[in-house]
Symmetry: C2
């Protein structure tokens, strides 16, 4: 996967020092091995105000060797033209991932495809978040100026390593990081409509602060993400709602939020569940 | 889409006679046109008891011209071998639908692909449920012996028109039906683990009766599906739970339930939402 599992970022914010032991060295306390985990994914999207179609596309697929991949693509500009590009990009990446192509290769191939198809004239931002059950890691690949937020019991990492969008320059590749499959891991990815929410109105979205306080332990020692009732879906909804609020209820760009979380298993029936909800555009 | 929109089935059960006026003739009461609709999808799946991997695959994609397609594939037998087949089938169909191929052609092509790839030795059942925003219909394509249940304010239709599984015989095609986009429409599709639940224990699953009573109006005149709190997700969960219960908590086959519903819009933010939850298999 290219697995440049770079060290914790300077932006690290530590809230629960008593949960830090050995996280990145693989020496987690033994009792964690016996915790059964649940994968949760939550996605929430809106289009730019007064534009009927979002230029962002989110697709997902089951990985053939086990696990799941989420692809978030943001096409240049907004509306129909952007949608065509982001859909092209997302579907190319998904088709490759569904055939078992590794994430880094899928991102490279999608870049080459877009660049060939559109002669280097059109760019897109691409983020792939996978739960890979072969390597037993979460693999995150970015070709985007939007950072990805990673929250674990030891704190928040703002992964904003520089990367280029796909489609324009030759030889572009993603930046990639891998995370161990560990309870109470949260990955929050989003498009630039969220990143830049509120900027036109003089109140930028401090996502790091906001997500941290949303997930931080009420009684210290519980760690991130064990807060009662917070799910991947509710976090994605809450981030989106805050971004819309900062844009004074008129999103200045397409906004998409993707949250992937690994939490202690609560359901007892071993079922897999998926839901979708969206307003049907009028005729 | 091949649109053989055949008449209401003899199994029709009518609960709310006062809601029947003109449904199939297109002369719905005018006020229905102004109801804003929400698409809801709910999927719930379990694998056969003591088998770690389900032989059923469910994939979804956004349709390039607008809308959404769900593909449910059930591979012959269960476990890993079935999973490989159902994944192959589902991904082929999804890749075609994502490129804008019409549903009937996607099903035919997927059949030809499986038959060529496995030399006619392996079969699969395939069901495609699409919300098509170009034709403004729900399109359902079946190559399965499992019926699809369609509930509208005028009653229940058990769509069990004969169809062949894909992969074996030459020239197989799906049976297809189209439904208008109308409030309080429910489509319930499932694999044979649900259809045959309880049979080994002498208590077959009367799905028609069960779904009808689950969705029927408490105060007559409200019609199906306006029952407080019932969502596509909760209905899928409830059907699966009942099937598991009838198999005495040990599913005798892979079980998958897919529910698509068109309901009056309740959310006010125009957001699109997707969630996934599943247990992470231990290392």
């Amino acid at each position: 996967m290219g697995g440049d599992n770079d060290p914790i970022h300077p932006h690290l914010i530590t809230l629960c020092a008593n949960r830090q032991a050995g996280y990145n060295t693989g020496h987690m306390p033994e009792q964690l091995d016996s915790i059964e985990l649940e994968l949760q994914v939550g996605v929430a999207k809106v289009s730019k105000y007064a534009v009927s179609e979002s230029g962002d596309t989110l697709e997902l697929t089951e990985r053939p060797q086990g696990g799941l991949s989420l692809v978030l693509a943001d096409g240049q500009r907004s509306g129909r033209a952007a949608k065509i590009i982001s859909a092209l990009v997302a579907r190319k990446a998904i088709a490759l991932l569904a055939e078992g192509v590794r994430d880094g290769a899928a991102a490279r191939a999608t870049h080459d495809y877009l660049r060939t198809h559109r002669q280097g004239q059109v760019s897109a931002e691409l983020c792939i978040v996978s739960l890979d059950l072969v390597t037993h890691t979460i693999v995150i690949s970015r070709n985007s100026h939007c950072p990805v937020f990673i929250l674990t019991p030891e704190g928040l990492r703002v992964w904003d390593e520089h990367s280029e969008p796909i489609g324009i320059h030759a030889g572009v590749k993603p930046v990639i990081t891998e995370l161990p499959v560990t309870p109470n891991t949260w990955v929050v990815a989003f498009t630039d409509g969220v990143l830049e929410a509120g900027q036109r109105f003089g109140s930028a979205f401090d996502i790091a602060d906001w997500v941290t306080s949303h997930l931080s332990c009420t009684a210290c020692g519980n760690g991130y993400g064990e807060q009662e009732g917070v799910t991947a879906a509710s976090l994605a909804d809450a981030v989106l709602a805050r971004a819309i609020e900062l844009d004074q209820k008129r999103p200045q760009d397409d906004m998409s939020v993707v949250v992937l979380a690994l939490l202690p298993l609560q359901a007892t029936d071993q079922a897999r569940r998926l839901t979708v909800r969206f307003p049907v555009p009028p005729l």
